[in-house]
């Protein structure tokens, strides 16, 4: 086997850190994004709970966060990170900026997915006497499901990219490994190896996403 210049255990640890950061922040981000996107869809101009103020405030906040590059966002919210997880550095500390980064991104993707559901579905739901919660739970989300799965897939891949930058606050991960050991020590084989790992990650995630989206859509 080629010598990568770092022990295998370190590579495995980096992979674990990446997986940990991606999936925990994806999980939390998805929950937040579902809530925010539903609020956006319900309160927009054509929404069944039309509310200009709620919509404008939420919409603006999302736009502001989305315009900040992740690496700046990460250092910018360090005090908040410290408040929430008790430390500014390490893998867990990276979760806070990652969630704050991915939630608005997913919100936008989810918003589009939910808006794709035909208005007639909402009307049918209303005509059956469904409550607002039931409209979302039994009609909007199930109908948007396959599109939502693809949005989550896209979001996951975006997150993998973001975790590479989390090395700045000592979060570790595959991207950080590539930067510190591969790039800074001019270790080309390691660079190449990490890139391959990342490519495989992304491929697997995209395939899984496509598979499930296809399965839910293709009746």
């Amino acid at each position: 086997m080629i010598d990568l210049g770092v022990p295998m255990s370190q590579i495995i640890l980096a992979a674990e850190q990446t997986v940990y950061m991606v999936f925990v922040s994806l999980f939390l981000g998805t929950i937040l994004a579902i809530i925010m996107s539903v609020v956006l869809v319900l309160t927009n101009d054509d929404g069944i709970l039309k509310n200009k103020y709620v919509y404008t405030v939420l919409n603006t906040v999302i736009n502001i966060i989305r315009s900040i590059p992740f690496i700046i966002l990460m250092v910018f919210i360090l005090p908040l990170t410290k408040m929430i997880v008790g430390t500014r550095i390490g893998t867990t500390a990276a979760l806070v900026p990652l969630v704050i980064f991915i939630a608005p991104y997913l919100t936008r993707l989810f918003e589009n997915s939910i808006l794709e559901v035909s208005k007639g579905i909402v009307e049918a739901a209303q005509s059956m006497g469904a409550s607002y919660f039931e409209i979302v739970w039994y009609f909007l989300l199930p109908e948007a499901k396959s599109s939502l799965i693809l949005s989550i897939t896209t979001g996951t891949i975006g997150l993998i990219g973001a975790t590479a930058m989390a090395g700045v606050i000592g979060a570790g991960g595959v991207g950080d490994l590539a930067l510190t050991y591969g790039y800074e020590r001019l270790n080309t084989p390691l660079m190449f190896f990490t890139v391959v790992i990342l490519v495989i990650f992304v491929q697997i995630i995209q395939s899984i996403g496509n598979h499930f989206a296809y399965k839910t859509r293709n009746h």
Binding site: S118, G120, I121, E123, A124, Q126, S127, M128, G129, A130, S131, E134, Y138, F139, P142, E143, K145, S146, T216, H219
Partner: protein, 340 residues
């Protein structure tokens, strides 16, 4: 009973106001098959959507069994909606759910117990003749089958009112016919009050006992289908009715009449029910010294009643023609003179 009391509706969007309904008053009795016909944009869908509160009047009131819809809470409105079924032009089925689950949704919202729900859904699918499609997805069905699912879904909560919003407008003529038969059967067997909105006069002709004709947000004509179809007053109504019950002389016949040198009058006669047409014609020809030509004739069935329309050319002198008209009046047959 559904009552619209002086209902107006104005939509405002981006500074533009549209008057969708203007001072509409209508009463729909229990057990009615009430049709509302008009071109798109006439406000008929807005009217329909007020019955289950999807749309609220800007002015006036909508009452169901005496209950003013603008005075009830959101929860009471939801409860009311559960007793009103709605069928849509675009079906509005959930593509991600099976036929069974689509029909089951209203029951699920009512927290019905599983066994009862299964029994009810299968009964409904049996009723609309789709029991074998229970596990299919809407994407695998034809338009007519989708609408059957939509109808089964609308009936799931045993509603007392069924609203049909252009239920057959997205379907081909043959499928339309099968859906109309289904609606007719539902009305007969389940005795549901139906409000049917359509731009297709055949639908009204086939199903309804009463009709309102709408134009630019106003009801321009209303009455029993028999009355309105046999004697339409408004130009709009005439236009609609003419497509199913023609009452005009073909152009080639008109050209021929223009060559006629003798004195004549053209009368359009309408026979309803058991007005004996043959008897009348026989008598005119035998008793009066006139010559009669039938220029046009049509016989239609409306609400189990025969409607006959005859256009007669009566050739003779004025005195004799006047006698004929007097005779027709005595027979209580509706007539009007036709100018060419």
């Amino acid at each position: 009973m559904i009552q619209f009391k002086d209902v107006s509706k104005t939509f405002k969007s981006k500074g533009v106001t549209t008057q969708a309904l203007q001072h509409v008053s209508l009463t729909i009795d229990d057990g009615d098959m009430f049709g509302v016909i008009g071109f798109s944009g006439a406000g008929k869908s807005t009217l329909l959507r007020m019955v289950n509160g999807l749309e609220m009047p800007t002015e006036g009131h909508v009452e169901i069994n005496g209950q003013d819809l603008s005075k009830i809470s959101h929860n009471e409105m939801r409860k009311l909606r559960k007793s009103i079924g709605m069928v849509f032009q675009q079906f509005n089925l959930l593509d991600s759910r099976t036929v069974f689950d689509n029909v089951a949704i209203p029951l699920r919202l009512n927290k019905a117990d599983k066994d009862k729900m299964h029994k009810k859904v299968m009964e409904l699918l049996e009723y609309v003749n789709l029991a074998d499609k229970a596990d299919a997805y809407p994407g695998q069905l034809s338009g007519g089958q989708k609408q059957r699912v939509g109808i089964a879904r609308a009936l799931a909560t045993d509603p007392s009112i069924l609203l049909c919003d252009e239920a057959t407008s997205a379907l081909d003529p043959e499928t339309t016919e099968s859906i109309l038969q289904l609606l007719e059967r539902i009305h007969k067997e389940l005795n549901i009050t139906m409000l049917i909105v359509t731009h297709e006069i055949q639908v009204i002709q086939r199903l309804c006992n009463r009709v309102a004709v709408m134009e630019h947000g106003k009801v321009v004509e209303r009455g029993s289908v028999l009355e309105v179809f046999s004697n339409p007053q408004q130009d709009m109504t005439k236009k609609f009715v003419r497509t199913v019950i023609p009452d005009q002389i073909p152009p080639s016949v008109v050209a021929k009449i223009h060559e006629e040198k003798d004195n004549y009058k053209i009368l359009k006669l309408r026979f309803l029910g058991d007005n004996a047409t043959d008897h009348l014609m026989y008598h005119i020809n035998k008793t009066f010294s006139v010559q009669t030509n039938i220029l046009f004739a049509s016989v239609n069935e409306l609400q189990k009643t025969i409607l006959g329309i005859f256009i007669l050319q009566i050739i003779g002198n004025d005195a004799e023609i006047a006698k004929v008209i007097q005779y027709i009046d005595e027979q209580q047959v509706q007539w009007q003179e036709v100018d060419l």
